[in-house]
Symmetry: D2
Subunit: 351 residues, 4 copies
């Protein structure tokens, strides 16, 4: 496989929001051909039955989950499957000779016991946890080149880590002081039906959930610990916003010196120099979720409060794109040695 | 100018929703270069000041409205200006040698007195009204090839006419019986501030407005009259839906014979054969606005009620795309002799 | 039981939206005491577990569905149960000596075969269908006084019938021409979970459903047939609006004479003279759903189109109040001989 | 005036959201008669012209702002006027012999220089700032009895202070550690039109604004300083949620000892014993804004994180009720010596 050939791609979990967004984005990717859309629950049915917006675009029936069959038609598989399912499926996909980009949380934590504590499932094998490369593109993008197995970051961790890492690596903020107040649209919890996704329960409502208990907390802590070289523990609250797409993380940290907003802006712009998908806002301008909607951008803004010696860092992404399908494709690009932004240069949809 | 060269494009009215959507779509068009974004009210200011989602995408300052200057840098101008403004501006743009695609309502009606009755402005000159080619692509697309001046259809008329014309041309429905119940998202009324666009007044609210008085009514009637060869008058109600994008027109007509849903589906599929942006739904499936969101599709479904001898035709579009910027680019494509769908093959965004 | 005593009330189906709205409204009713809140699925659990907004307001556990037990503590039962369930439950409630106000569709149609055709369940017994008094308060309110068993009208029929009956009784409009384009918020389909109630599927979406097939169609036709004395068949489309509460019906009819908007306003104001919950809007003003939200009002406006000789009648209600719990309490008031508006004089919530 | 007589009330600013909510609530108050609804901008026009939901409920025309005239018909005035306007109006109302409950921010800060720093207007006179009693009912309710002039707290401070004061008074949390992440619906910014209130800009969008700069910050700090006896400075971020009503404040503080969630629940329940409008949630249950919508409740929940030694306190109110009109009426009740909850025992509207 050379970097200019078309890559054949299969998508497991095509009937979820992550899977169907992969389809939308990959349809527009110049070097990808979708050769199989797969769903364990709806095999044999045209995908447009459940997603009429794909009428005339994908005329294909959904395939079943058969690793050997997938390997006949695809080079790379995106596993957009729920946590617990990926853990069981990925070994077979790898064994069938496929490259795998997994969008679930199953392979993000290196320590199986931490996984089991937060996810309440049995962890995958230690070797697989070791093998999986954590694909936070703007931070660890060098590591995914040419690998066979990428674990795609979670939506909250993506917004959080891109917002914190430059300051934390520069030693400007105290890791022990980190408080992360996160807000997400409803699509983050998937297409499954439940009372907590019922329109009448969500609309005109703002609620907190899993306070201090969200399974993305150890993922954030693992990366911050790796980056700082010392154990980092964060306070992390997740909220549900009455909207479909978008995540904002509002992050608070105590300053370890006397830094201004201009300092932060300069630091971050230098840090993310050459990375097309991180945009640092001008002084006094904070990003809003709609300003990245439908796109792979992560936008970041700052407020320094000299009264309390704290910085407030605000980071936004589209959870379905940069927080899932978009970053997964960005990882594919890096894995293949292609331009990082190939097929991802969408302008956000506004309004 | 040959059909394979890149066309230089300027957009007047870049700070409105139609203008900014033209930017989004033209950014992805393979044969277009945006050379000027223009706003009479904000000239000299970076466009991303008012539209932060364009940060790092369009770094250009807004230009003023100077036809001679525009003609130096552009071949084609999209006028995404309010009705009344286009009427004054377009003659100068044409005189400067530019090709013009006008998105306002100013040049859609051939009869200036009808224009004045419904729009309450003075009409443009009769010659210009005559010169303007009405660019309803799937119906009159042949007529826009190589012309200099296209009047882009309104959002309601686009959804309505695509939904009615096959049946009316086939003589299956009685033009005197037409009742059109139309619903639109809020973006249709533009970015101007008013109490009727205030979030708290729109959210959790569904309202009718301009009942029998909407300025798109004569546009629909003019085309239906042209198509049938006899005067057609319609009952037309417009409603505002608490959503940003999307139009549905639910249309009622008395059958002139004994036609089934299958008959309608077959008729429409044949009628729109080869037109990439009209999708006729299967029996018993009606389109929803989200299924075309962000895309240039018009989706149509049918219900025949043998009890009342009426057909209900349901047509949906994204008012900002197929109802404005998308169809305008489709017209550019046809004007240039390009593939109709060039740069417009977006998959709808779902969810 | 005299008209000034407090009436003891039980609510079956307290964990649905209709039931919980009965609780909200009855809490404020000066002559009612809620003595039992009942749910077959959650008996034994505090009602505030599933509805935290009731914390400290209703401290009661949910009771099971035991007619004999209910009869010990209550005089009147509201059955806010799904269609199919009421059919089985109501006979036992009546036999236990309770007065019953049923909010389901099970007892609204007088002809069991029509019920079975539209509801796809076996119909209740002919005697019960006969016994049930159809409680459309402003039309048949005289008939519910002192009866034991009231069938509360459906949400769509309430908005539709109040909007049509004065004109149809006056002979001003042609019953054969009736086209009803109805729109509802999501709460109308209840608290049950399903993909069609999923926030991400509803938000920013407008869709049609059950076109010509909604089970409220025969209810409308039955009443119009009774009122006109001749069979009436209507064209009726139902749509789902991305909002929680509210119904609008936009109704079209051909005029049988030369009537103006002023004529309609005068006719309707006279017709509904003394009825506190119907408000006829001034000329050129059409009601919006938010203007009746949380209240028991039905607001009606008109547009006459002399070009097409049709009238457009627009009627709005809050589907959970006037379309369900509010009208049920209005029926209780009439049944008891109380003031029709007792406990129901809420100002709509705006915004 | 005795405590059982009906009080005559006038509302200045009746065409804003605070004013119209006062009307809704006071309509249902058993000891209040609304004798004048006042608007400087719309005097002479029926109030239902701008607020059709009041059709047939308030048939009154809007009066102009004439203190002497108001004093002829009213005992108490609610000033629901913008900041800057109240500062000029209230002295005249007091001089005319009226009791005043002011809902603006003009009289909340005791130090005029702090007011001018945050509000950017000239401060009212020092005597008036001194005279105004800050009506945070559950904290300073004893102080408003029999006074003539009450300054009603801001929406963010109400949610914040009720959530913090018991813990801070008990010495359980470190005042220097306070971080408040606040979220509000759009109605909080009033009915004025602006791009930031435009539906298409708000819908499907979550944004931060006035980070560290909101004028409610000094109000929170003033009260916390008063309560603790030492200067308190807070980090405070305000966000806009795509919903109409509701505020949540998510508050973070470092524990000064080893307290559990159960400890917090017990502390707060004791603290607010006998106060009808504060509801402390059970362990592991956090309140959502919809659960207080339309009501005067403030609901509070807790999460203690032993890993970081911090507590997260979550407090919700309806910003238009407990954050404005409802608390103002609660203040009226206390001022009059009535039951605190008189006329305010609304069940929240759900869904």
């Amino acid at each position: 496989m050379t970097s200019t050939a078309t890559v054949r791609v299969a998508i497991v979990g095509s009937t979820g929001y992550g899977g169907v967004e992969l389809i939308r984005l990959l349809q527009a990717h110049p070097q990808v051909e979708i050769t199989s859309v797969i769903s364990s629950s709806s095999a044999g049915v045209p995908i447009s039955d459940g997603f009429p917006h794909l009428t005339n675009i994908i005329k294909r029936d959904l395939d079943g989950v058969e690793p050997a069959e997938i390997a006949k038609v695809a080079d790379v598989v995106f596993a957009a499957t729920p946590s617990g399912v990926s853990a069981k499926l990925v070994p077979d996909l790898l064994n069938a000779g496929l490259k795998v980009i997994d969008l679930s949380g199953d392979f993000r934590l290196k320590d199986g016991s931490v996984y089991e504590q937060w996810y309440k499932h049995p962890a995958p094998s230690a070797e697989l946890l070791e093998q999986a490369v954590y694909g936070l593109c703007e931070v660890f993008g060098e590591e995914v080149k040419d690998v066979d197995f990428i674990s795609n970051p979670g939506c909250y961790p993506t917004a959080t880590l891109l917002g914190l890492i430059p300051a934390i690596q520069a030693g400007w903020i105290d890791p022990a002081s980190l408080i992360i107040d996160a807000k997400s649209g409803v699509s983050g919890s998937g297409r499954g039906t439940s009372l907590t996704a019922h329109y009448a329960e969500i609309n005109e409502n703002f609620k907190a959930y899993k306070v201090n208990k969200h399974q993305h907390i150890p993922e954030v802590e693992q990366v911050l610990t790796r980056v700082t070289g010392e154990p980092v523990t964060v306070t992390f609250t997740t909220h549900l916003v009455p909207m479909t797409r978008g995540i904002m993380t509002t992050m608070y940290a105590t300053l370890k010196g006397s830094y201004t907003e201009d300092d932060f802006i300069e630091l971050y712009r230098e840090h993310f120099q050459g990375r097309p998908f991180v945009r640092i806002r001008d002084k006094g301008i904070w990003p809003a979720t709609k300003e990245v909607s439908g796109s792979n951008y992560c936008d970041i803004g700052f407020a320094v409060d000299s009264r309390t010696n704290r910085v407030t860092i605000i980071s936004v992404i589209d959870n379905v794109v940069k927080g899932a399908a978009g970053q997964a494709i960005q990882n594919l690009n890096l894995m293949m040695g292609w331009e990082e932004s190939l097929g991802l240069t969408f302008t956000p949809i506004y309004p």
